[in-house]
Symmetry: C2
Subunit: 139 residues, 2 copies
Amino acid sequence: MMISTKGRYALRFLVDLAEHQGDRFVPLKEVSIRQEISEKYLEIVVKELVKGGLLAAMRGKGGGYRLNCAPEEYSIKAVLELMEGPLTPVACLEPGQDACPRSNGCRTLPLWQGLDKVISDYLAQFTLADLCGKTKISS
Amino acid sequence: MMISTKGRYALRFLVDLAEHQGDRFVPLKEVSIRQEISEKYLEIVVKELVKGGLLAAMRGKGGGYRLNCAPEEYSIKAVLELMEGPLTPVACLEPGQDACPRSNGCRTLPLWQGLDKVISDYLAQFTLADLCGKTKISS
DNA sequence: TATTAACCTACTTTGTCAATAGGAATAAAA
DNA sequence: TTTTATTCCTATTGACAAAGTAGGTTAATA
């Protein structure tokens, strides 16, 4: 299991906004009820989305959250990486990792590199828009 | 990060056996030195490989471990699932999981199903033999 | 009978996940 | 101006798993 609640909740929050925001700010509580996610925990998730520049926030009465861009602009891969960190299947592939001393003759490295690529390529091809309304994703 | 040391060490152990066993039983200590993995921890990993029927073990002097089948017979996916459990990217896809009540209108489920499929298909196409000697895996 | 090696049980340490608790700051409405 | 609705902030908790250590028991061979 590689995707934690943070990544999953973040996507659900963004989809919910895309589908319900219209022209207003949507309060977190509203999403929390629709998505059946604890308000308090969702706060933590959303804080990172704001900090990452994906959402605009507005405080006080009538406040809430709003997408900063059109749904087509949100790459699924980018959202998940913001929440989860690198999505590599093994630690030695994480960016900024100094090459493992065994990497030269490592028999398994190519396997992990290939796996990393299929995951990365898959997630990079979708945007938030693909998750909205009737699904455009087929397995 | 989705593949733990158990899965990674297990593959390295199996590859090491495939490349060095010849016609004898290979003691764990020997692999542990070559692979630079703690003997004690490797014991835990190997125990599961034996229990899973992948290895034959022989005790006492001259003992050690040996592959039960030809390297082509070991599916990478099967080995990893033995060590890690289900490789699904999210919990709701694990086998034996009762369908989540939200699954009907879930906007993210198709995404996870698709991701699960690319991971599963990728890992299912390789065997231990593909990891041995010069790599036959390209990314 | 000494040696080598697998097997077994228990423990430890460290870190992350998934929250919860309680309030402070801010904006709008009454 | 006071109430209400909302985001924002810091701290804490409980459960669990990952990764590894420690110390001994059983079995096969020379």
